[in-house]
Amino acid sequence: MTDPQVGMVMLGLFIFIIMLGFPIAFTLIAMALGFGYYAYYVAGQDFFANRIFTLLVQKAFEVTSNDVLTAVPLFLFMGYVIERANILDRLFRSLQIAAKHVPGSLAVATLLTCAMFATATGIVGAVVTLMGLLAFPAMLRAGYDTKLSAGVVCAGGCLGILIPPSILLIVYAATAGISAVKLYAAAMIPGFILAGFYVTYVVGRAFLNPALCPKLPKEETDVPFFEVVRTLLTSFFPLAVLIASVLGAILFGLATPSEAAAAGALASLILAGAYGALNFGMLKESVYLTARATAMVCYLFIGSWTFASVFALLGGQGVIERFFLGLNLSPTMFLILTQFIIFLLGWPLEWTEIIIIFVPIFLPLLETFQVDPIFFGILVALNTQTAFTTPPVAMACFYLKGVAPAHVSLSEIFKGSLPFVFMVVLCMVLVYIFPGLTLWLPDYLYTPR
C-alpha cells in the first residue's frame, strides 16, 4: 500500500471509530500516534527514537502557547458568569415592554433577548433552555402560535455562535491561522442581516395574520413611558454596553481578542455583583464549567493538529486535493459542495469538531479555488446554525423539547424552526452573491490608505 493510501485508510478508520462514540480528542491522538509511527518509521531505529513522539509533544505545546486560543477560556468564563448573573428575566421584561407596539411583540422581544444573551454568553444550550423556561411559556400563555414561538426560541438561541464575539469564530481563526479580528469584522454585517431577517419574518407574519400573535392584554402593555426607560436603562443598556465595548475594543484594535475577553469577563463579574448575583457558589460553578469546556476544546486541538500533520505527511491531504481538482469544479460548485459536506457533518458532530477537525481538510484548497478563508469562515459559521435546528440531531430543538410543556411535540418544534433554516440558507446565498457583505468591513477597517 502506498503512503497516500495509508493516509486515506487513516481518515476512513478515524470516521468509523468516532462513530463508536469514544471521546474524539483521544481518538485523534491515538490514531495520529499509530499512523505517525508508521510514517516516521526508519528501519533499524530504536523503538522510542521515532519522531512521532516529538511531534506529539510539540503540538501539545503549540496549543498551550497559542495566543488566539487564550481568548477561549476567557470568553467562556464571561459567558458562564453572565448566564448566572440574574440578568435574563430583566432583559426579557424590558425588551417586551419596549416592543409593545410592534406586531408580535413578545416574539420580537424573545428574538432580541436571545440574540443579545446568546451574543454575550455564546452557549446555545443554556440560552435555548433558559428562554424555553421563560419566554416560551409566556408566548403560549398569550395565545401565540406554538410553532412560531418554538422557532423563535431555537433560532434566536443559535445566533450567539455567529454574532461576534463568538467563540466559534475564535476557534476558526486559530484553526485557519487567520486574524480573529478580521473575522469578527467580517461577521458583523451577516450577523445583523440574519437577525434582521428573523425579526422581519416574525413581524411580517404577525402583521399578515394577527391570529398567530394575539395582542397582549391591556394591563400588561399599559406601562408608563418612564418605566420603560427605567427598565431599559437598568437591564438592556449595561449588557449592551458590555458587548459593545468588548467588540469595539477588538474591532478598533485597542485590545487583542483575549485582552478584550478578559476585560469583558471582569465587567461581567461587576455586572453580576450589581444585580446581586455574585456569590461564591455561582463563581465556583462558572469557574469549573469554564475549565471543563476549555479542556474539551484544547485537547481536541492537540489531537487535531497532530492528526493533521501525520495525515499531510502520509500524503492523504494531497489525495483529497487531487480529488477535488479532478472534479473540475468551478469555485461556486466547490463552495456549494464543501458547504453541503459541512451541513451533513452537522448531523453527527458539533461545531467544535467540524471546525477543529474537518475544516482544515478544506482550507488548503481555498487558495486554488480563490476563496478568501475569511469569507469561507463566515459561510461555515452560518452553516453551523442550521445543524442546531435541522433533524435528526437538532440540539436546539431537543433542548427546547426538554423544558417545554408536555403538549408541545417535537415535530411542532421542528416545523417551527424550518422557516428559520431557510432564512439562514437565504443569508448564505446573499453573502455569496455579495461578498462585500463580509469583506467590506474588515477591508475598510484594516487596509491602510
Partner: protein, 202 residues
C-alpha cells in the same frame, strides 16, 4: 476496586478544580495589563507570557477532571441509543486499545521535552522579560500521569457497568444549565407519575 475509582475521581477533580481557579488569575492579569497600558501608559513586558502560561496550565491540568466528568466530546449519534452494557464494552476496548497507549506516549515524550527544558532553565521566547517556561512544560508529563490514572478509573467504571448493565453514579458536580434543568424536570415528572409512599391522590 470502587475505592480506587473514587480515589482517582476525587484526585482528578481536586487537581482540576484547583487549576480551574487560574481563570481568575488570567482574567485579572490580562485586565491589569490593559489597565496599565491605557490608563498609566506603561505596558508590562511579561503580561503575554503570563497569560499563555496560565491558560496552558489551566487547560492541561483540567483534562483529567474533564474525563472524570465525561465532558470530552463524543459523537454520540449511535452511542446514546445503545444499552449501557454495549456502551461500556465499546469504551473498555477503546480505552485499552487507544487511550492507554496514547497517554503513555504523551507521558514519555512530555517527560523528555520537560527534562530538557528544566536542564536549560528555559525561559519564554516571546518577550525579553525572561519568564521561566519550564514549569509549564513540566506540567505536560504530570498531566499525562493524571490522564493515565483517570483512564484506569474509567476502565474500572466500564467493568462495573458491564457487570450490572448500569453506569455507576458519578460524584455530584456542577452541570451545564441545560442538563441540570432537564434532570430536575424529569425528577419532578417521575414524582408526579408515581406518588410517594404518603400517597397524595389516595
Amino acid at each position: 476496586m470502587t475505592r480506587f475509582l473514587f480515589f482517582i475521581d476525587s484526585l482528578s477533580s481536586w487537581v482540576g478544580k484547583s487549576f480551574a481557579w487560574l481563570i481568575l488569575v488570567l482574567t485579572f492579569g490580562v485586565s491589569y495589563e490593559v489597565f496599565v497600558r491605557y490608563v498609566l501608559g506603561a505596558p508590562t513586558t511579561w503580561a503575554f507570557d503570563i497569560s499563555y502560561i496560565t491558560y496552558g496550565a489551566l487547560f492541561l491540568m483540567t483534562g483529567a477532571y474533564g474525563l472524570s466528568r465525561n465532558s470530552h466530546v463524543r459523537a454520540d449519534v449511535l452511542y446514546r441509543f445503545w444499552r449501557p452494557r454495549t456502551q461500556a464494552t465499546m469504551d473498555l476496548v477503546l480505552y485499552i486499545l487507544f487511550f492507554l497507549p496514547a497517554v503513555a506516549a504523551f507521558i514519555y515524550s512530555g517527560w523528555n521535552y520537560a527534562a530538557m527544558s528544566v536542564r536549560f532553565r528555559e525561559v519564554s521566547i516571546f518577550s525579553p522579560a525572561g519568564i521561566p517556561v519550564f514549569p509549564l512544560k513540566m506540567l505536560i508529563p504530570v498531566t499525562g500521569v493524571l490522564l493515565l490514572l483517570q483512564g484506569l478509573a474509567e476502565i474500572i467504571r466500564c467493568v462495573l457497568c458491564i457487570r450490572s448493565n448500569q453506569w455507576p453514579q458519578r460524584f455530584h458536580d456542577v452541570e451545564e444549565i441545560e442538563s441540570a434543568v432537564l434532570r430536575e424536570k424529569q425528577r419532578l415528572e417521575r414524582e408526579q407519575a408515581q406518588p410517594g409512599p404518603r400517597g397524595i391522590n389516595k
